[in-house]
Amino acid sequence: MKILVLLSQVPDTTARIAFTNDNTQYDSAGVTFIVNPYDEWYALVRALELKEAAGSGSVTTITVGGADTDATIRKGLAIGADEAVRVDAQPTEALQVAEHIAAYAKDRGFDLVLAGKETIDHNGGQVGAMVAELLDLPYVPLASKLDVNGTVATVERDVPNGVEVLEVSLPVVIGAAKGMAEQRIPNMRGIMAARTKPLTVVPAAAVDNTGGTVKFELPPAKGAVKMIPVEEAGKLIELLHTEAKVI
């Protein structure tokens, strides 16, 4: 089974969020970058498990980004991916990223393409679905479980108040959410091996530009918290009703 995993780089989950250049750019000064948790913990690990269970096949990661993403990409190799591809372009917008990825994946015969549910910085949940459309493949978002039997994938996906169990023939694109796998911590051997695994840089082709973010803003600061003594705890309900008017 030939698997492609879409791997993006994001600021660490505890990173400070601030902007520069008149709030038009994320301020990355002093920020540690990581592999997007959904891509690493769920998409990549499940891809490796499926390959291991099949006893054959390959796991390739693909990232649209500049050379500054190479260290993050190596983490994917350290966890166990066989090879990595980087499309040399700064991601600006979902469709642009998806077109780069689809251009690479087209005609390479991947049986399975795994994306994360969403990036934790852009929060779009778009790229996987767009890649699927561009490759004319089915796509299942919000998948919490994935099994492959021969050429059929069984996928569980979260729906309001429950879970849907789906069947779909390969090839297919899946958006991986929590539950699909358990995080793997790379060991020393993996980290050493990652140094010599192939990381291929492909030049960016021309893609569409449909817009993007022009300005950021931080949410207004919270007012002071109103404390209620524990003996009068019931007053909270009253205040939520009469003062905050939310219940």
Binding site: V165, T213, I228, G234
Partner: protein, 312 residues
């Protein structure tokens, strides 16, 4: 500007998020809009209240197959010469809207928080820790609206319901089974959410959380470790790696308020926190706080909620 709106209308009532999307689309258009949907709903005429003038429904499609639904939406968009396509930023919308955007080479705003200002759409980024203003420069726009972003219009209007007659091809996805975990309000739609963390000590103690949520007409949620330890189902997990929700009221009980948890709930209008530790970081993000033991506070809240319900 010609606006159409794609909704999932399945279920025994038109979902709240779908009504919001139709309202939003008609406000964007400045007049009644065409709705495109699928499935067997018999309530489609009611969408006139939200500003629909026509509903085109693919009756034969009962499941979310992104390819069939993308074809449906794009066909209607072409027929109506739509320049803006509104969707819902939910499970169905996420399977369809980005595909429609990719097919039509349209810019896609994933999770718009309201009507545009100076042509720019606001959305959450960095897991709710910041917002971004997005501009779409392509001739066609796809706008996915975040649930709980606008009040539902309750006007009057008549609707013509038309059956879609095109060929959507065969579904490539089949649904084998649907496991319903509950019958309550789906978490993303809930206006009131009562949530428990590790401070609740064990799954056997959730009866109080459920009772309070039920009394307030809300839904229940939990922190990540609670779902990881299988005290509660995964779909209740909120935060950076779980659901991001935006209820009017979020009541957090026995949750420390780690930054990854806050990422999923900091868009709530009002936050109330109950925690034994006065230093719990959650109090900094809260509007109301009680320093106290959940097992003492919860019964008092339940009692107060019962009293409130008896009075109203």
């Amino acid at each position: 500007m010609s606006v159409i709106v794609f909704i999932d209308s399945r279920g025994d009532k038109i979902p709240k998020a779908a009504q919001e999307a139709v309202t939003y689309a008609s406000q964007l258009a400045g007049g009644p809009v065409t709705v495109v949907t699928f499935g067997g709903s018999t309530l489609l005429e009611s969408l006139g209240a939200q500003g629909a003038k026509k509903v085109i429904v693919a009756r034969g499609v009962a499941i979310v197959d992104g390819q069939q639904l993308t074809k449906l939406v794009c066909d209607v968009a072409t027929k109506e010469s739509a320049t803006t396509i509104v969707c819902v930023h939910d499970g169905t919308g996420k399977a369809v809207a980005p595909r429609v955007a990719a097919r039509l080479k349209a810019g896609h705003v994933a999770g718009a928080l309201g009507l545009p200002v100076d042509g720019r759409f606001k959305r959450n980024v960095f897991s709710g820790k910041a917002q971004a203003w997005m501009e779409v420069t392509s001739p066609i726009k796809v706008i996915s609206l975040s649930p709980n972003s606008i009040p539902i219009a309750k006007g009057e209007g008549t609707v013509a319901v038309e059956e879609y007659s095109g060929d959507l091809g065969a579904a490539r996805i089949t649904v084998k089974e649907v496991r319903k975990a509950g019958t309550g309000i789906p978490l993303p739609e809930a206006e009131i959410v009562v949530s428990g963390g590790r401070g609740m000590k064990g799954p056997e103690n959730w009866a109080g959380i459920e009772e309070l949520a039920q009394l307030l007409g809300g839904a229940t949620a939990c922190s990540r470790p609670v779902a990881d330890m299988h005290w509660r189902p995964h779909h209740e997990h909120v935060g950076q790696t779980g659901l991001a929700i935006r209820p009017n009221c979020y009541i957090a009980i026995g949750i420390s308020g780690a930054i990854q948890h806050l990422a999923g709930v900091n868009q709530s209008k009002v936050i109330a926190v109950i925690n034994t530790d006065p230093e719990a970081p959650f109090f900094k993000a809260a509007d109301y706080g009680i320093v106290g033991d959940a097992f003492v506070v919860l019964p008092k809240l339940i009692e107060a909620a019962k009293k409130l319900n008896a009075e109203r």
